[in-house]
Symmetry: D2
Subunit: 354 residues, 4 copies
């Protein structure tokens, strides 16, 4: 109920505050017999890690995962996979300036209203550091889904966007630049823009597009748990996300049925794919693609007005090391959450027929 678990059959439950002892979680429901490459898990954590490049936060966390159970001689055993990622950057002093202050567009105020108590050090549970556990679980899910490929990339930063369909992109270039944009020219513009914004002590939003290939036909449940509904929830559960669309998305709302319908080929594939690989909530074997909107990071390196616990207006300014644009580091998180959704439906698919 408390919402720290994602998935029904392939399940991840996470714990940890950004400035506590450790982040961690339990992956429950992973079938037995899957060979797990721990280096791959660590590699995904590396993609999310602070300090990777000059455009992201320079906080230092090695983000080394320790698996405590569920693996035996390199394989999953079918028992729960417990893991922790120790927090190394716990200097509470950094946060004394926000102890009694509610930061604008952060969760400080609502936390205090909801729970009557708040771990003021770094956002506590609402910190995006929580996503480190999602990346671990997603990396295990990816290994379960060996045949599915999941490629997320930054498709826009501020007003700068990739002006091509995803089919024209080479996903192998995504990791070639710090912005994680597979279109080189656009990536350069984005990087320059983020640096400029950062210099102003400001931040900027962006979008991530994600493409899934080779998802088996039949994943997703027809009523409430439609495949795209779960993808939507998964993405909207990532910090700073404001919107989700798949296939034709919001553009589809402007179209006519005669333009929008995807006509079949004889083999059951479709000539177009405005449906985004999902019909009636169920995968149809075509590419699944969706787009996720991220707001600008709320912590600014410039002075802002806010209130304190006594309801007094005060001035505050972010300290320490924060991201000017969160989307490059969110790319592996989007992929992880997509992998978790697919893994869950992949297992559910075993239940449909006699």
């Amino acid at each position: 109920m408390a919402g720290n678990t994602f998935g029904d059959l392939f399940k991840i439950t996470t714990f940890g505050e950004s400035h506590g002892e450790a982040m961690g979680g339990i992956i429950d429901g992973c079938p037995s017999g899957i060979t797990i490459n721990i280096d791959e898990v660590q590699k995904e954590l590396g993609r999310r890690k602070p300090g990777q490049s000059s455009i992201v936060t320079q906080r230092k966390e090695s983000d080394k995962v320790q698996f405590l159970s569920g693996l035996f001689e390199g394989k999953t055993t079918g028992t729960p996979i417990g893991f922790i990622i120790p927090n190394e950057n716990q200097k509470s002093a950094d946060y004394s300036h926000i102890k009694d202050v509610y930061r604008p567009s952060h969760a400080d105020y609502v936390y205090e209203q909801k729970y009557g108590i708040r771990d003021y050090k770094g956002g506590g549970r609402s910190s995006a550091r929580e996503t480190v556990s999602r990346v671990v679980a997603g990396a295990i899910a990816k290994q379960l889904l060996a045949k599915v490929t999941i490629n997320a990339f930054v498709s826009s930063v501020g007003e700068i966007f990739i002006d091509k369909p995803y089919q024209a992109l080479d996903f192998s270039l995504t990791e070639s630049n710090p912005v994680r944009c597979p279109d080189r020219a656009t990536a350069e513009k984005m990087e320059a823009y983020i640096k400029d914004v950062k210099k102003q002590g400001d931040t900027v939003g962006g979008t991530i597009t994600c493409v899934l290939k080779n998802v088996p036909i039949g994943l997703g449940e027809p009523v409430f748990d439609k495949l795209h509904a779960e993808l939507g929830k998964a993405m909207l559960s990532i910090n700073a996300v404001k919107g989700f669309e798949y296939g034709s998305g919001f553009c589809g709302a402007k179209m006519k049925g005669s333009e929008h319908n995807d006509l079949f080929n004889e083999d059951g594939t479709t000539k177009t794919n405005l449906s985004g690989g999902i019909q009636g909530g169920i995968s149809n074997g075509m590419d699944i693609y969706f787009r996720v909107a991220f707001k600008p990071v709320a912590t600014l390196m410039q002075s802002q007005q806010t209130i304190n616990k006594d309801g007094k207006i005060v001035k505050m300014q972010g300290k320490g090391r924060h991201d000017a644009c969160v989307v490059p580091r969110a790319v592996p998180i989007v992929e992880a959450m997509a992998a978790l959704v697919i893994a869950d439906f992949y297992l559910k698919e075993r239940l449909n027929r006699q």
Copy 2:
């Protein structure tokens, strides 16, 4: 797992195929002692009903709900509320022309792939008729949430949209026209456009905006079950929905932090509300607002090419009575789903503190 249940504490499970005996469901977890006005439930069903106006389908269904349990002397008893809505329009013959054919951009093909069996009469379980049960449950949820107001309305049809912020609208006008658009001039354009599209045997998409007022502070869970993530899932689970955004939404992704942050007033309210009433997944007491994109209805009253069960290309054309634009009838469904999400978090909120 099969995804016929929505909610964790205030729960609705639905059953029924569009051409079976009856639609229905069980509302479980509704607290005892709530006075239920059954006329209000029936009124909501009336808003969703086919045949209300010239721009929607002319199918005939009285959509009369029968409550079978859970109410005693006009009040909820805390026990499950079972209900049915008999199907009156079950002429199977209407559907013989699609028995062996997979309609484009419908779920026919994926259903057959998923289950190996398909109730070909009218889409079976994937028919939007299933939402009749959601409207019943939502109407009960609204009565639990007496102080919260939920107003959805059509904000665009095709390229026609309301060119005003929601604050400038008078929601009491929403029901004054068949499009359910509270801006009269825009409503007229939309209505004319839908009639035109219909004449062509075509269909068109649109968007619905929904505004929630007086939601208590503190609703929503901070990690996976963020309030907006559940709203997103709820909306994306409605037939034909392609996208969801709340607050600043996709526009927010283009903005800078210094433009986007909502500064506090001394009383904890905020000067602006780009956050859309939700911070870190938790309601902050400001208006919650979101927008939902609907694709055009896939059933066309014009000839389309498709395939049959043998993988042969055939021609087909919709028969009977279908909506040219689904958004007017989807307004009460959006409200119902929003009510269900809020009701569930409203109960969860009782669990936070000692």
Copy 3:
């Protein structure tokens, strides 16, 4: 949360008060493609029905089930199976004498304390009539589990018990007498005893033993959801049940390990079966057997002292038609709940391995 659902994958949610419009439920998660024999379902309902014989209540209910969804051309479609069983015996007048009185050892008092409102007509939701929906769902589960055989029978009534191991019994005789005891001589004694008790306006308890054969190896989860833990919960959820034991049960607690261990044969079967077919919570392919204790029915046809709503001591006496001994009618309920437990684990078993 409200506890009206049983099962995780093969799920039944029930609704209905004994004196409301109808009982009913939704079976969700039943795989597609299973041929359903509705006569078999009706037959199970007949075994549970009042009025079958002179030793059970003479209330009149035809208990005719109506399936509303989820079946198509005689087969399950993978969609939820909604059903109702109309209540025919709703003469509320029968219950006016208990409107303001809390019957001893009934749930009247705690209901009022819990919900602040109570449907006083016949126990409302706590009536054993609720089990009619469980029998429907169990009958569907049995058809999913075609190879498993489930045989429950009355093993004791009061101090009279079958003095033989279950292996010495012929289960085909269970239905040959109104007590549902497969040992003829014992059945006669039980029947005579129940008639005697009934004449006194009194009631008596008893036990039911249940034997499951051909349960596949590997069903059950090793930690909290052990197979016998779920069987135990299922049985304890039946009205009037006070105890559950499986395999050696309470006798096993008196034994030494050297007496109790079941030694293996070369083929993985065991020479003895004190384990009751379950090791570490997981079925091992041997017979599963367990025993369930039922208290005597609380409604007596003799005068008892109790209290009313005002906390005053009053005299009351049961009216109408009640069972003097509930175990004969509980036999199909025990079987139904066992079938539901096995069906749920049968589906879970599909999830274990890569």
Copy 4:
């Protein structure tokens, strides 16, 4: 689904194999603002720990719990409480003799059948070491339930039993002897018997009785999730448990209604309490009491015949340090599971009424 979670609102998910890195878990759903005494948690672990006395296993584990999240300045914050208990006694060599052998009446054989892979070191996940995490969670639940008292004690070992009603016992004596039997004379006999059995390389079963006082009226759900059904499941989920009864239990099945009914006093309490504090699945404010049967430990320090992976009959003998009787160490586990059940219903109780 994989059954590593217990509870719906107050939830514990556990992980860990007996010979892996660590045991641990996540407590989710604990309300905020509860002062936690960690020494109390550690004390409960001490009661369960191996090596406490001469009659239990002499394995060495310090069983020191480390809390990683969810606590702030000594109080719960409403966020998930992650914890680990490192395993210190991981000498895998100890288990090489059972690598290819299926121990009688252990879960080895069924694990291999179920998962196709088995962590052969000490039972892996089916080891009773898993209960260490339950004791941690139970100790937190006890602190949530400050007013409820939970007293479990050993009521029989083999044929030796306490020949008094629980009302005649002084629970403060339970911890005064290594058997955890509050009746001194009986405790001495039990201890002598266990030592004798141990000398023979044999083991013996026993029963634990548990008494809960001051449980609020109204806990438990009326249909499937009856309070005693969840208590039964909780107890049956503990390793080696074969039976559960509450109130009059199996004896109640022999009684007449006129003997069994608990007549009311004017204040709603009852003159007798054969119901065991629960009516219709809901607590009535009287003492809740139940009894749990444990089979003898399957690992014997004497030679037994069994089979190996190749289906060949072999001889084997337990090595190392095992319990001759598990019930003394199971007392805190029974209390922990009872606390978890009550805590979960305690939170659910907040949901009943408007």
